[in-house]
């Protein structure tokens, strides 16, 4: 962001608010484009993955090649659907709930480190910010469920509230380990550290446990199967968004897929090397080299095609890892049956939370005594 402001200021010769607002426009435009295209792709991918796991084809007709345009057609169809407000509903809360749900996860995207220098805001509280902004979603869901004035919606909303807040605890504890090792909240620093010291998942014996703990709790946080109780379609019709239709309904889905992406990126960045390859092959996606150049006062990242590729191939690496985790989330959805509500709560509080705390203790001990699988 700052680099972009400097670049635009150099390019146009303007000062002050104008290059800043131009930079914001560029960031907002690219992020909106990215989320929309990603969500459409992910929904198509989910259908294809589901279909192939059940030995069928899934969408094949729309667009010609393997139904690639199915999501585009769906989005258009949703635009033409009637926007129904239930007569008993609280109109105001019912109308703003999708916006509240969506804006939280949308603001979370700004700290995602796509590649060195490609991060909208390098907040010094990165990870902490991401955890807290993701929790805004719960407020919107409770709003939606309560305002709908339907029993299914209410049940879905209170289940969601109980489940999502409960699983924030293990996911937060699982993230303390990596923060403790790296000593920073900034997501970019995790990439630099892992380029120099190897992936955090192999840092000490507690890190794989923390990664698993985080992955399971992020599944529950995104309401993905086997934790899809808030929208359990066989018991609650559709959960908290039973009464929603058309575009408003689609924003709940957009939010779900967007939060899957955020969770997978966090998983890839904190445990699986982020933008770097194993053993830091080719020095791809190493943020340190970029930071050095920025410190030397070069406003643009582009200095030599090799440097450019090395920095920006990080995006490809990160997206590959992210889609791998998204694929696992889809795989689990079509493999595992849904848990019962008391099992979900027991798993969160009685298994994952103690495991998470144990990984914190273990990592702290390993760090204090300088032990570990990888050199410090």
């Amino acid at each position: 962001m700052n680099a972009l402001v400097a670049f635009l200021s150099d390019l146009t010769g303007l000062e002050g608010v104008l290059p800043l607002s131009m930079a914001y426009a560029v960031c907002i435009g690219s992020l909106l484009g990215f989320i929309t295209v990603y969500a459409m792709f992910a929904i198509w991918m989910e259908r294809k993955v589901a279909a192939h796991m059940q030995v069928r084809y899934g969408p094949m007709e729309t667009g010609g090649w393997h139904g690639w345009a199915q999501s585009v057609a769906d989005a258009l169809k949703l635009l033409f659907k009637e926007d129904i407000f239930p007569s008993q509903a609280n109109k105001f809360l019912f109308a703003i709930a999708p916006a509240v749900v969506f804006c939280g996860v949308f603001a979370g995207f700004i700290v995602i480190p796509f590649a060195a220098g490609i991060q909208i805001a390098s907040l010094n509280l990165g990870v902490f910010f991401l955890i807290s902004i993701a929790a805004v979603e719960v407020i919107g869901v409770i709003m939606a469920g309560w305002a709908s004035n339907s029993k299914y919606s209410l049940f879905g909303a209170v289940r969601e509230a109980a489940q999502v807040v409960s699983y924030e605890l293990p996911s937060a504890t699982a993230l303390i380990g990596p923060i403790l090792i790296v000593g920073s909240f900034q997501l970019g620093d995790f990439n630099t550290y892992q380029a120099n010291h190897g992936w955090l998942i192999l840092h000490n014996p507690f890190m794989p446990v923390a990664a698993l703990c985080f992955f399971i709790s992020s599944l529950a946080g995104c309401k993905r199967a086997p934790f899809d109780l808030p929208e359990a379609e066989s018991e609650l019709v559709s959960g908290f968004h039973t009464e929603y239709s058309g575009m408003r309904f689609s924003f709940f889905f957009l939010e779900e897929y967007a939060s899957m992406f955020v969770a997978s990126v966090l998983m890839a960045t904190l445990f699986f090397g982020g933008t770097t390859l194993p053993f830091n092959i080719g020095d791809i996606g190493n943020w340190a080299t970029y930071a050095e150049r920025a410190a030397a006062g070069e406003p643009s990242v582009i200095s030599g095609i090799g440097d450019f590729l090395r920095t920006h191939l990080g995006i490809v690496v990160l997206l590959l890892k992210t889609f791998f985790f998204i694929f696992i989330q889809m795989w689990l959805r079509w493999t595992l049956p849904r848990l019962r509500v008391d099992q979900v709560m027991a798993l969160g509080y009685k298994y994952l939370l103690p495991w998470g705390l144990v990984t914190v203790i273990g990592t702290a001990c390993f760090e204090a005594f300088g032990w570990g699988w990888l050199p410090h």
């Binding site: 659907k81 926007d83 007569s87 029993k151 605890l169 504890t173 909240f185 019709v237 027991a346 914190v360």
Partner: protein, 132 residues
């Protein structure tokens, strides 16, 4: 540093705007055909009985209460984790952290033993009936 956080505000507002834009755009295309049966809360075809904005079950309250207590405790661990490796005396930092986490664990065990972590808290039904 603080000006980085302006981006958060800008993107929160943009998020709301992104939800509103297709909805306003959709006004041009979408039909509006309301009637009483359509706007009725969906209950699988039955006429809904009573209001849905009723009192919650207490266990959601308990869950939320436990969550707030633990979340605050875990939020306290983040600054500790952040400075751990740059602490002058790591063993002191480790000791301090372990004492804190021990207390958190103790709280978890107390909740567990009292049955507050169980979704359906078991009551002695006979005793309740007498009290009622």
């Amino acid at each position: 540093m603080l000006q980085d956080y302006h981006a958060v505000l800008v993107f929160l507002i943009t998020g709301v705007a992104m939800v509103c834009t297709p909805l306003i755009l959709g006004l041009l295309f979408r039909p509006k055909n309301d009637y009483a049966e359509k706007t009725m809360p969906y209950e699988c075809g039955e006429d809904p009985i009573g209001d849905a904005q009723i009192r919650f079950d207490m266990r959601f309250y308990t869950t939320a209460l436990i969550f707030i207590i633990f979340e605050v405790e875990i939020a306290f661990m983040f600054p500790w984790a952040h400075v751990f490796n740059s602490a002058p005396d790591k063993l002191f930092a480790l000791g301090a952290g372990l004492i804190f986490i021990f207390i958190v664990f103790l709280g978890l065990i107390v909740d567990w033993a009292k049955g507050d972590l169980d979704w359906v808290k078991t009551f002695d039904t006979n005793k309740r009936r007498v009290q009622d």
